[in-house]
């Protein structure tokens, strides 16, 4: 079966150790996490994890079921097939000289990204978007020299009816 990226959304009880339980499960069963993000939800005491995993659908189904077994995990959805909005935020520190600064600013504008810090020999660019957009920006800025990248990992939400 073909290996592909799946997006799992897990609603979990906001209790100490819950991230550890989830991460430990992935390690123990040999599943690979591509990215994981955690944050509060609209409901108090409930956090939301967005987990991107690589695997064929049988493996990912096993991941989903194993996650569901964790007592503190309230609900897990595989939203890969759904129509979703997915976003990631990245901070990129790019090397600059006075000669190329305006060219960089132009690229940043095209991507509707922001420059959030300016130093004499570098800039920090903040960009939000889906994976494709982020990757093209990395590629373009790469030619100027990238010092550092920080990425949040993907967040995803089903359009219309919420994954409750």
């Amino acid at each position: 079966m073909a290996s592909e990226k799946h997006i799992l959304v897990a609603l979990v009880a906001n209790k100490p150790g819950v991230l550890n339980r989830v991460a430990s499960l992935f390690r123990r069963r040999g599943f690979n996490i591509e990215s994981i993000t955690v944050g509060h939800t609209e409901k108090e005491g409930i956090s939301r994890m967005t987990i991107v995993v690589n695997g064929d659908s049988a493996t990912v189904e096993q991941v989903r079921k194993q996650l569901d077994k964790v007592i503190d995990v309230i609900k897990v959805h595989d939203i890969t097939q759904d129509s979703v909005v997915d976003r990631e935020l990245a901070l990129i520190k790019v090397k600059t000289t006075s000669a190329n600064r305006s060219e960089i600013i132009q690229i940043v504008d095209i991507f509707r990204a922001n420059i959030v810090d300016v130093a004499s020999d570098s800039l920090i660019v903040e960009v939000t978007g889906d994976e494709e957009k982020l990757n093209s920006l990395f590629r373009l800025l790469g030619s100027f020299g990238i010092r550092e990248i920080a990425r949040t990992g993907r967040l995803a939400m089903t359009r219309g009816i919420p994954a409750s």
Partner: protein, 570 residues
């Protein structure tokens, strides 16, 4: 009512119907132990090693069908529990493990005897807790018992910092739990049940494979009804043994690596496998790609994650074995499958179960067979791991529900003695035979002191082959008979028993076997028999590692003699 954390634990245990716990004290547990005299209805059994406490709680849980409780102090006490907790986890046994922890201000400081036991046991517990205030205690205990005993049972660990035992809080035992992430499904999906019934009604050569889930949900009657109504032979996994009477016409015994030949052949030829409360462990399926090659598979399990994990399934049904079988029985039609049943009978004639080779030599199969004969099958058998375990599975005719207690998933040597103690404490009215390997017995031999102190009237049969027998068998068959690190010398088990004050005797010939077992049975307290058996006897049939169920090696046919039939027709 304001109580201390320790008192809240005791009150909660009593509310949960706990009568006994197995444990070993230490610094962080001192305030807890100091509270115990206030609760004389809670019996505490002192073990000699915390592993024994966990296995005893496990044996108790399996025999009595309710949660078993063990406790250990922080640090080494807690880590000594780990093997026992893992064992309970893999065999879905409801064990509550209570551990002491260093006081809250010391947590995270690498204080004396501080160990992250919740981190260590994360992958081997169904759930675990650190109780950071006495106010949470009652709720944690309520949840812990609920989680341990419902759905697919399993161990739950509760870690309690020393100062939480003495902290006071208002005690109020909650009536119910609030666990939005934990809702076991009991009733099978109606449409799936209909689909399964259709497959069963259409099948020409169906078999049932019954696992420990049937024992846990006590679905004996429902399983029997299905088998009899639809005339389907019943095969069991190792831990499914005693979910169906083995003297029944439709019983084919155990499948798998050391399963009955006819059971393995039946799976190989079947056009439908109805798997109930079993998880397709590799010891049961052998080479999984060649498992039941002609069959469609119905899989009934309470744990959704088991479905589709190891084998492809045609009709999955998530639910409690008993509820699902009840519903299924309403949809299944009465059918005689004469061809299939007579095929089964023919295989059985060629490969009779529970055969014991004739002769003068003392072979282990004869010992197990004799325990069955003398007790008339009315005994709980608790085994260790290895050859004696497989002979216990093969040569005893299990007629009564829930009478085999064995370490299946983890295969823990040393399980036998403490688990037998737990089983006897849980079922004081039953005869309990501990069938031990001479190797495994030495791993938890110190629990003989527990047996003596508590006067636990278990009967111990050591199958003394002078070897780590199962490993030796593999060395013989697959490693050119090079017996590296498997020969065992001594000790004198009779003298050891004597030192603990437990009556014991040694048996070297067949003639002495039955009188010795009778003597053990007549004695009111614990009794140990050291059976010095043929050292190089092998377990057959055997499916070599990596081979398919159908490719089993059988014992040389000429040596086999079938005993009188103990089969009843139903």
């Amino acid at each position: 009512m304001r109580l201390t954390g320790a008192q809240i634990i005791c009150e909660s245990l009593i509310k949960e119907g706990v009568e006994v716990m197995f444990g070993f004290p230490g610094g962080s547990l001192l305030p807890f132990y100091d509270t115990l005299p206030q609760y004389p209805q809670l019996r505490h059994i002192l073990v000699r090693h915390e592993q024994g406490a966990a296995h005893a709680a496990d044996g108790y849980a399996r025999a009595a069908g309710r949660a078993g409780v063990c406790c250990a102090t922080s640090g080494p006490g807690a880590t000594n529990l780990v093997t026992g907790i893992a064992n309970a986890y893999l065999d879905s046994s409801p064990v509550i493990a209570l551990t002491g922890q260093v006081a809250r201000p010391f947590i995270g400081k690498d204080a004396f005897q501080e160990i992250d036991i919740t981190g260590i046991t994360l992958p081997i517990t169904k759930h675990n807790y650190v109780v950071m205030s006495a106010a949470e205690m009652a709720n944690v205990l309520k949840e812990a018992f609920h989680i341990a005993t419902t759905g697919r049972p399993g161990p739950v660990l509760i870690d309690v910092p020393r100062d939480v035992f003495v902290e006071e809080a208002e005690f109020h035992y909650p009536a119910k739990v609030d666990l939005p992430g934990y809702k076991p499904i009991l009733r099978g999906h109606a449409a799936q049940i209909k689909k399964a019934a259709r497959l069963i009604n259409e099948a020409q050569r169906p078999v049932i494979i019954s696992g420990r889930g049937v024992v846990i949900s006590r679905a004996y009657e429902e399983l029997r009804e299905l088998a009899e109504k639809a005339q389907i032979p019943v095969i069991t996994t190792l831990l499914g043994i005693s979910s169906f009477p083995e003297n029944h016409m439709l019983s084919l015994g155990m499948l798998g690596m050391h399963g009955m030949a006819h059971a393995n052949m039946a799976v190989n030829e079947a056009d439908l496998v109805i798997a109930v409360g079993m998880r397709f462990d590799d010891r049961a399926t052998a080479k999984v790609s060649a498992f039941a090659p002609k069959a469609r598979i119905i899989h009934v399990d309470i744990d959704p994650a088991e479905i589709g994990k190891n084998v492809r399934v045609d009709v999955p049904i998530v639910g409690d074995a008993r509820d699902v079988l009840k519903d299924l029985n309403k949809e299944v039609i009465t059918r005689a499958r004469l061809d299939w049943i007579s095929q089964m009978e023919a295989w059985r004639q060629c490969h009779p179960p529970r055969i014991v080779r004739e002769g003068d030599d003392l072979i282990p199969q004869y010992v197990i067979h004799s325990i069955c004969e003398v007790t008339e099958g009315n005994s709980i058998i608790v085994t260790g791991v290895g050859q004696h375990q497989m002979w216990s599975a093969q040569c005893f005719c299990y007629k009564k529900p829930n009478t085999l207690i064995s370490s299946g998933g983890l295969g823990t040597m040393g399980f036998e003695l403490p688990a037998a103690i737990g089983a006897k404490v849980g079922c004081p009215g039953e005869t309990v035979w501990c069938v031990a390997g001479d190797g495994g017995f030495q791993m938890t031999i110190q629990e003989l002191a527990t047996v003596a102190q508590e006067k636990t009237a278990i009967k111990i049969a050591i199958i003394n082959n002078g070897f780590l027998g199962m490993v030796r068998q593999w060395q013989e068959l697959f490693y050119g008979r090079r017996y590296v690190a498997t020969p065992l010398s001594g000790p004198d088990f009779v003298k050891i028993a004597d030192a603990y004050g437990i009556p014991a005797m040694r048996v070297r010939t067949r003639l002495e076997v039955i009188p010795a077992i009778q003597k053990a049975m007549e004695h009111s307290g614990p009794f140990l028999i050291d059976f010095v058996v043929e050292p190089e006897e092998n377990v057959y049939p055997m499916v070599p590692p990596g081979a398919a169920l159908a490719d089993l090696i059988e014992a040389p046919r000429t040596e086999l003699v079938a005993p009188g039939s103990d089969r009843v027709s139903e």
